[in-house]
């Protein structure tokens, strides 16, 4: 079945990647996950990883702002949808701490404003950490 073939191929690949990259993983940015996109060729020949970093840093802050607004207005469906979107791109780029707090926002019952407010603050601070890590990686790649 197609899904099984994909899963097998990805497991083989993950095993190879783990051997190759050793322990350059950290909590804020899993560099190995991000650098897996190095092999993708950008259309204009520029660094594809930098393109992804720039796009993520451009599109995520307005989404976080929209989450804060949705929390204030108790628009839970909107909040959960945006958290879900941020989770997808964050986990794909190796930003697991951002993805984790988005997962918590999606999973929480949203009955308590304090809990939601705390999670939104956590998301904001984790994004700041993520931005610093991404900017450091961006700088390294430009050198």
């Amino acid at each position: 079945m197609l899904v099984e073939q994909v899963a097998r191929l990805s497991n083989e690949r993950n095993g190879r990647l783990a051997k190759a990259t050793g322990s350059i993983t950290n909590d804020i940015l899993d560099v190995a996950t991000l650098r897996a996109f190095e092999k993708v060729e950008s259309e204009d020949g520029s660094d594809f990883v930098i393109e992804l970093i720039d796009l993520y840093l451009e599109t995520t802050p307005p989404r976080i702002q929209a989450i804060r607004k949705a929390a204030f207005e108790k628009e839970w469906a909107v909040l959960k949808h945006i958290a879900h979107t941020i989770k997808g791109s964050s986990s794909t780029l190796g930003l697991h701490r951002v993805a984790q707090v988005c997962q918590e926002l999606e999973a929480t019952s949203l009955s308590s404003s304090d809990v939601v407010g705390g999670l939104v603050k956590a998301l904001e601070s984790r994004f700041v950490e993520a931005r610093e890590a991404l900017m450091a990686e961006r700088k390294r790649r430009l050198q």
Partner: protein, 141 residues
């Protein structure tokens, strides 16, 4: 007889419909698909995908995000499987959801493949190759 020419038919590009509301994901998908000699057509939400599919069925495959504004990925699958002209198009669902039920729901609705986020470029490339191959195999049979 001097005007006689042999003309070869232009090869049909592997057009692939992408529906995702996240610009990071659409950029990633379009770039990787182009590397695979595919021609991506992007819809930024479910409603846009539906509008495209209403007048265009010339796709070798469709890659749909599960969770999109206006119309969800599952709604698009149901539409594509209810329309004869779209029924042959293999569909891959991508999602950041960790709920196994969504995978079974996708297959029940008619999805051909399911790729959970996060995915690596290799995983996506393999999935696209298999997805497009699945239509070619179906045609050959």
């Amino acid at each position: 007889m001097s005007g006689f020419q042999i003309r070869f038919k232009e090869p049909t590009p592997n057009r692939v419909l992408i529906a995702d509301d996240d610009p990071v994901m659409t950029h990633m998908l379009t770039t990787i698909l182009k590397q695979q000699h595919c021609q991506p057509v992007v819809a930024n939400d479910g409603r846009e995908a539906y509008r495209i599919l209403q007048s265009d069925s010339r796709f070798k495959a469709a890659i749909l995000d599960m969770s999109m504004p206006f119309l969800e990925g599952l709604d698009i699958i149901h539409y594509m499987r209810s329309e004869r002209r779209l029924r042959r198009i293999p569909i891959m669902m991508i999602t950041a959801e960790q709920n196994i039920k969504l995978m079974t729901d996708s297959f029940s609705a008619g999805a051909t493949a399911f790729l959970p986020k996060p995915f690596t470029p290799e995983q996506l490339e393999s999935a696209v190759r298999l997805l497009i191959g699945s239509q070619n195999r179906r045609r050959a049979n």
